[in-house]
């Protein structure tokens, strides 16, 4: 039996609690106060990675559902290669961000931050491995609440505003998702993800599915549900922005994937309804994908703040993933999971590169960052490589993501309809569009004339992001490590 979902969640939950304990221990030792909570959380995540790795080979087969009854968190989980790999993504990003946070927060009480962080990790793993809609919903709520706590952790006017916006949007999203779940349950007679396909049989079920997707789409920042994201990315502290961009947004898309996956032929589930030609559901997704990538890219073009550029670029990436998802073929699923991985690594890396200690949003203005990469060569190298990587240039992993996305669209074009050829063209042109802002980052931050602002962080501070970038390069040079063996 594959036990990693529950074991990992228990470890992470316990890590969160223990980090609070460690934080209390800070009264007795200044070292403990400075590093204790962070170290405990990081250890928990690292330990979870180990547990995941030990179950790795068993978890790559077709869908395995498990329902351990004697455990806490006992409910229905799914462990297949996609969930395993996405959980792996979440934990890798989480570990890097935790290591970075330890350097980022050097004063004040940090226990609550790490506790929330661990619970967020726990919820993310729960969402990723949930086997039925209700489990998904519960962990979804856990994710939203802990993310809200992390966003408002700094407690400034700006973070509160962003947090409230996030909470309200996500709340309405959850509400809609709940309605959707009810609709699906009403028609399919079950909330198991594997029978979601049955809901497509009736109009009411389709409506339920769409409303559910709409609700989940808030977290994935599908336009027009994206408006919270730029505010949250720019107002929250950099570790929070880093984990939200790298893990939470990705898991948001993965939740959409989980709901739609039963409709994908050949995925290990028995496809209940054969969709045949392009369905209305697919058309809705195509339109949403197109709008999402266009709004993301075009908005990013005119931004003057690096954090806002990065947040709109995340929206654009959601658009690409949604495009791959709309094909409802297996390559599309692989493309989404692989993009979650690549985007997660790169985007959380980017926010960490951005981070001076306690940097405010004003410090991320491109004009203020001008020439920073010149004063600190290693930082400049990281800025340049991260931007290049986000553009999908080789030798970074994102290159293959884009190829996979386009591949899934062209495959769908051959089987399902001409509209997917159009979407493929839209995706590649949008990627060209995105060069406009990514390259601008290189031209101002790395190549621009120095403005007097210095960023003299020690190299150790940049190591978490550098290691994420190194993983991305490895993915780019040797994609077979993941695509052949895992996905």
């Amino acid at each position: 039996l594959i036990m990693w979902p529950t074991t990992v969640m228990e470890i992470l939950f316990a890590g969160g609690m223990l980090s609070l304990v460690a934080d209390m221990g800070g009264r007795f030792s200044s070292q403990l106060k400075r590093y204790g909570a962070g170290a405990v959380s990081a250890l928990a995540v690292a330990f979870s990675l180990g547990v995941l790795a030990s179950d790795w080979t068993k978890s790559l087969g077709p869908v395995v559902s498990l329902q351990p009854t004697t455990e806490p968190f006992a409910t229905l989980y799914v462990a297949d290669k996609f969930t395993t790999f996405t959980a792996f993504t979440v934990l890798v990003v989480g570990l890097a961000v935790l290591l970075y946070s330890v350097m980022y927060f050097d004063s004040g009480r940090q226990g609550p931050f790490y506790a929330l962080f661990s619970i967020l990790m726990c919820s993310l793993v729960g969402v990723v491995s949930a086997g039925d809609l209700l489990t998904l919903f519960l962990f979804w709520e856990g994710m939203t609440v802990s993310a809200y706590g992390l966003v408002t952790f700094g407690r400034s006017q700006l973070t509160m505003e962003a947090g409230v916006k996030y909470f309200l949007m996500a709340g309405v999203g959850s509400l809609l998702a709940l309605y959707g779940i009810a609709g699906v349950y009403f028609t399919a007679g079950s909330i198991q993800l594997s029978v979601v396909g049955a809901a497509l049989g009736s109009g009411f079920g389709q409506l339920g599915l769409l409303v559910l997707l709409l609700g989940l789409g808030v977290e994935a920042a599908v336009v027009p549900l994206h408006t919270w994201l730029p505010d949250v990315y720019s107002a929250s502290s950099l570790p929070t922005a880093s984990v939200i961009s790298g893990a939470v947004t990705g898991v948001g898309v993965f939740a959409l994937l989980k709901v739609l996956e039963p409709l994908v032929p050949g995925n290990g589930y028995a496809a209940v309804v054969a969709l045949g030609s392009t369905s209305n559901l697919q058309l809705v997704l195509v339109v949403l994908a197109l709008i999402t990538m266009l709004v993301g890219n075009l908005s990013a073009l005119t931004q003057g703040n690096l954090r806002r550029i990065l947040s709109f670029s995340s929206i654009a990436q959601t658009g690409y993933m949604l495009a791959a998802l709309s094909t409802l073929n297996l390559v599309g699923v692989v493309a989404v999971v692989f993009t979650i991985w690549n985007h997660g690594l790169l985007k959380s890396n980017f926010f960490m590169v951005l981070g001076k200690k306690n940097a405010s949003i004003e410090e991320s203005q491109l004009d203020r960052l001008r020439g920073v990469g010149r004063g600190n060569r290693f930082l400049g190298f990281l800025y340049a490589s991260s931007s290049m990587a986000m553009m999908g240039a080789p030798p970074f992993g994102m290159f293959w993501s884009e190829i996979l996305v386009v591949q899934s669209l062209l495959l769908a074009g051959q089987t399902s309809g001409v509209v997917f050829y159009g979407l493929a063209a839209a995706v590649v042109l949008n990627i060209v569009l995105s060069i406009g802002y990514y390259y601008r980052i290189i031209n101002t931050v790395v190549f621009g004339e120095e403005q007097g602002e210095k960023d003299e962080r020690p190299v150790s501070n940049l190591l978490p992001s550098a290691s994420l970038l190194a993983i991305s390069v490895l993915t780019g040079i040797a994609p077979f490590l993941i695509l052949g063996n895992v996905l």
Partner: protein, 581 residues
Amino acid sequence: LIYWAWLSWVIPLLGVPLVPLASKVDSKLRGWMAVAASGLGLVAALYGAMSFGSPVTEGYTLWFPSLSVTLQVKVDQLSVLVGAFVSFVSFLVVVYSLGYMKDEPGQSRYYSLVLLFVGSMMGLVMAGNLIQFYFFWELVGVCSALLIAFWTNRPAARKAGLKAFVVTRLGDSSLLIAVIFVAATFGTTSFDAILGPTGIATLGTGTIFAVGLLMFMGAMGKSAQVPLHGWLPDAMEGPNTVSALIHAATMVNAGVYLMLRMYPVITLPQLSGALTNIILAIGLLSALVGGVCAFAADDLKRVLAYSTISQLGLMFAAIGLGSLASAAYQMISQGLFKALAFLAAGSVITALGTRSINEMGGLARIMKYTYGGFLVAMLGMSGLPPLVGFWSKDAILSSAFSAGAIQSAAVLCVFAFTALYSFRALFRVFHGKPGWTKTPKESPLTMIVPILVLAVSVLSAWAILQVQPLLSSTSWAPGASTLGASLVVLGLCATLAYFVFLPNYQKVLGAVQASRGLLGLRNFIHEGLGFDRLYVWIYSSVLRPVSTVIGYIQTGLVEANMALLLLAAGVLFVLFAVGVL
């Protein structure tokens, strides 16, 4: 394993991380590290060219399983020849860099990127399938953009890097679609499979046309063909070595190389020449546009850049005329004489500290070796027999003669412009009245030796090239009519250039400045025939307004956002109620 075919590109790539490490030991070591890596690559490639027996494709390991892409090298007549040529020029340029970049800051970045470029370019040449080809195709684009902006202090250089990247990526996006379409259709992109009788040839005619056209659009971006050529003149903001290596001799040839690889598809009989005619038209148009602009440009490097566009156009024209061998020959001869021209120009520019030909002149006696190199380059470019440029041009002209009157006239026109701008550059830079004030000095030995080596190869490489497997099957003996026509054009234009630019230059200049029409024409050509305005227009009147409008939508008002969300749900319910869903 065919070791050389792998080593020729893996060695330079392995050298990339070693360059910054070498600087920890000694800062001078960086350049020598690059020389060593590219030198070893050259040895491998030359060994491959000499030991070449029969074409073979060799796979190593499964690289990208989703498209069942194997890491492959394809050793055939084309890749052997082009590979040897690319690593030869790369090696010489890296040696030249030792002198040229001596006192520049940022050498780690420079040499790492150059080695990355050399490795990627060789990887592109040796690639055995389209996906691998595209991977390296993108990588050379990245190196190109970052090297154009090498002198980051210059805003123009930064802008030029961005422009090069965007414009070439625009072309690449269509290539990407074509590549993945082929992959998705056949489950493989190995050249052997898709070019064979069971490959692309089995598709419907319209589909083949679309795939070929998409690939050609990618080639247009990389090889700077109208209207995607605007980035190349701006790319001259980069160091001279970069212009010589990337933007004259190697990377810009990648598009031509792609078309040569896909030649069996482009010329499939069921297309009845539709693709080749488009390629011919675009090629000739670019050759003419480039020729006109090169004739008018005042910046020595821009003259050479426009001439590259023109010569590349000629290669595409050769492909369009159905002459694979002459296109390949022209690609290599252009690479040789243009690299030579850039290296010689770099020597002049370093000596004088300016790129404007108005501030040059009369350098022939002062910089003898440089002059010799530039002279050979210009003679080779204008097609004087028996220099390397002559043979391919003669073959292209002869295919044009058999194709029709319009094609012949266009090709002869291109030849005329080539002679005009070559001799103009030669006369304005090295003869006539000096425009400089401080007497320049000849460049150091590390810069002169590569110039001389390239000059010798422009003079004599034809003897080696014509026995190469790819080219030896074609007869290169010039016909009487083509030889006569091209010599007449060359003689007339050289004489014209002499009279206009040497004894009577001041008079001509006065006449141009006195006439409003001529002056306007000159300025219009100076601006690159208005193509830049087109680019700016697309950005400022299409993209910018749209993104501003989208900016308004992003109000940040939580009420508005919630309303939108609920509205979306409402729309869904309505759609359901009216029965759409």
